[in-house]
Symmetry: C2
Subunit: 444 residues, 2 copies
Amino acid sequence: MKLDHTHDVTATSWLASANDGATPFPLQNLPFGIFRRAGTAEAFRGGVALGDRVIDLSALSEANCLSGLAAQAARACMQPALNDFFAMGADAWRALRHALFELFSAQHRSGRSGPVTEALGRCLVPQADAEYGLPARIGDYTDFYTSIDHARNIVKLLRPDGTLAPNFQWMPVAYHGRVSSIGIAGQQVRRPYGQRLAEGARSPEVGPCARLDYELELGIFIGVGNGQGTRIPVGSAEQHVFGLCLLNDWSARDIQAWESVPLGPFLAKNFATTLSPWIVTMDALAPYRAAWARSPDEPQPLAYLSTPALAADGAIDIQLEVALETENHRRDGLPATRLSRTSFRHQYWTVAQMVTHHTVGGCNLRSGDLLGSGTISGPAQDEAGALIELTQAGRSPIRLATGETRAFLDDGDVVVMTGWCERPGYARIGFGENRGEVLPASWD
Amino acid sequence: MKLDHTHDVTATSWLASANDGATPFPLQNLPFGIFRRAGTAEAFRGGVALGDRVIDLSALSEANCLSGLAAQAARACMQPALNDFFAMGADAWRALRHALFELFSAQHRSGRSGPVTEALGRCLVPQADAEYGLPARIGDYTDFYTSIDHARNIVKLLRPDGTLAPNFQWMPVAYHGRVSSIGIAGQQVRRPYGQRLAEGARSPEVGPCARLDYELELGIFIGVGNGQGTRIPVGSAEQHVFGLCLLNDWSARDIQAWESVPLGPFLAKNFATTLSPWIVTMDALAPYRAAWARSPDEPQPLAYLSTPALAADGAIDIQLEVALETENHRRDGLPATRLSRTSFRHQYWTVAQMVTHHTVGGCNLRSGDLLGSGTISGPAQDEAGALIELTQAGRSPIRLATGETRAFLDDGDVVVMTGWCERPGYARIGFGENRGEVLPASWD
């Protein structure tokens, strides 16, 4: 992963809020999303987060502040989805990120004439005034299963005599998920009805899910796809990835347990999936790469899933946290209770391996396709990315700051996911928040 | 299901080829698709099959031969996908089908002036000159598993001590499939590479699929969707369905066996799915409905999956056939060898039950979404809808008319699916052909 001046921790912006150490969006980040001013009939369009503002890429294009490939890239972002921008490829993504870095850096302001800086200022929309759309028209959504700690936790809970499925250590296992129900942070998710088999019962019944859960994941946006019948080699797989966001894979555990054999989860997962609005680019993540290793007593990846580069920096150290905000938190003015904290660096399979395995049989990925990393759980008990793990399948409810307990999610609960990267000598960059609220079930 | 004059077996068209008893597309059928003249740069647009012609709905709209709702519906078909037409709902679908029936019926010609008939004639394109596109932009594709004979065959083959999963008789089991790799009849499908575990081996290897198979299914196009968090009651579910086509769910059995636990099939299925070009409407299928029954010693469907109307005509008697054409058939000028024949009336769950179950948890369907019925196998051995069943997982290869044998598909093989409905006193209507060819594997 090549580092350049956009990763320089000393770089600052002429926009003061970008230099506040608390912002997830310093000049070194520049994540992409789709937005408009909330409550207006404006068209949704591409934007980039900087401090407490959104850089409006439509306005920036019209202000003629860019040239060359960066200008072309910004024009592709004037639409209500970033698919065309994604399809332009890594050179275009980098050209636009670098151009934005220059335009909004403190150094460059001093050399600029007043009118240009004013023009740039008019391209900034307060994030407080913005609402967000899905970053892309998602053609297909694939959800992986790549945390070995999560997989082992689940096996222990559900099949006390069970062992990890033998394929887990040989391939990034995955299944296809539902596109239509994917929403953006702030999504209100109705508790699903569904069939479930009560313990000891001989026949199932239909009712509201009684074991509603979240799953902490990262969403991986495909930038450039591949042709049907071709594959993406692992060595170049990351060139096909635009960036990452936070993803909540809402899960109805009682429905899942009854429906999933033999074809996997279906209604237990397809009622909703929530994404954070900002996609942090692979370029912005470059300083936070981490070594990736497979211990010698484990199966080593087959040749098509292996490159020497993987060992050096195949992993990414993304810090992740899940918190729960109940109605009582809001009543008492308490911040959400933290449920767990972990890092993506523990994941058993890398982003590149997921992309490569997905295409090894010739399945075509398209610009804007979404991959979920699968639940991200670390090795310790308090690093688990889902309530089913944290509460031992509901047997050990968690106590919240309000004094309440939770085995699974209640109506009115808000799940809050956050993510960030930090490393000595580099800026702290963040993903922002991924909030989602549980609404009561309704049969009508 | 209400029958009307469009189902009258005595109705004929002024287009002679529509009255030929051998055509799958008499006046009583009028299936919808997307086409253009092959080898041209024409825009893809909506069309309706009649005899050996395509009624060009763009040309028909521009010729001002329609009025009212039918004219609006035809205008919605001027695009390269039928999604907007689907979203108009059953009244619009019926208005256009009825208007086409009138315009092209023999009775109506006699009352028409020469210029009008000439104008209609100019809206006809020979099917021999046409190429087809996918009928809709498919947002999500869901594949069901609803033939109990198929499910029992598979269980017997793969787990000799196994029994049917307990959920099978309580719900139409399903999983999400891949949209990007869905193609139209004539699709050439590259044999996928993938991981598989050889019998007795301790570690998997990667190689070209050695057990490539087809699955005979029907594709179900959603006409009108539902809002997220709402459900579609079974009594009105068919009003959400536009119609049916043939579907080949290509399957890599060796890859499937190794990857599918615990999350279901993924790369084993997502390299290709092939659809026939014409969607036969639910209205056209009305005369061929059949009684649907659950034997008293089996679980009865839960209330949300049950209406009194189901018993009377919940099933549809669609005759289905699979044939195989190898390179030797073509060399010797032999017709494809028939492998099996069955009917959709044996299916354990109905179209309405699939739609309703899909939405019981609030998952939103959208216009143009595709459901696969799951493999359609009848109760007899020669009614099985996949080679894995017909050949006992490859142990009893099939002998073809050429003298060749097949355990699974070879490179160059063409799978040919056909479907039709017939009933005394009614016309014979067909789905046309769904052909797909196997290309050799390629790693480069």
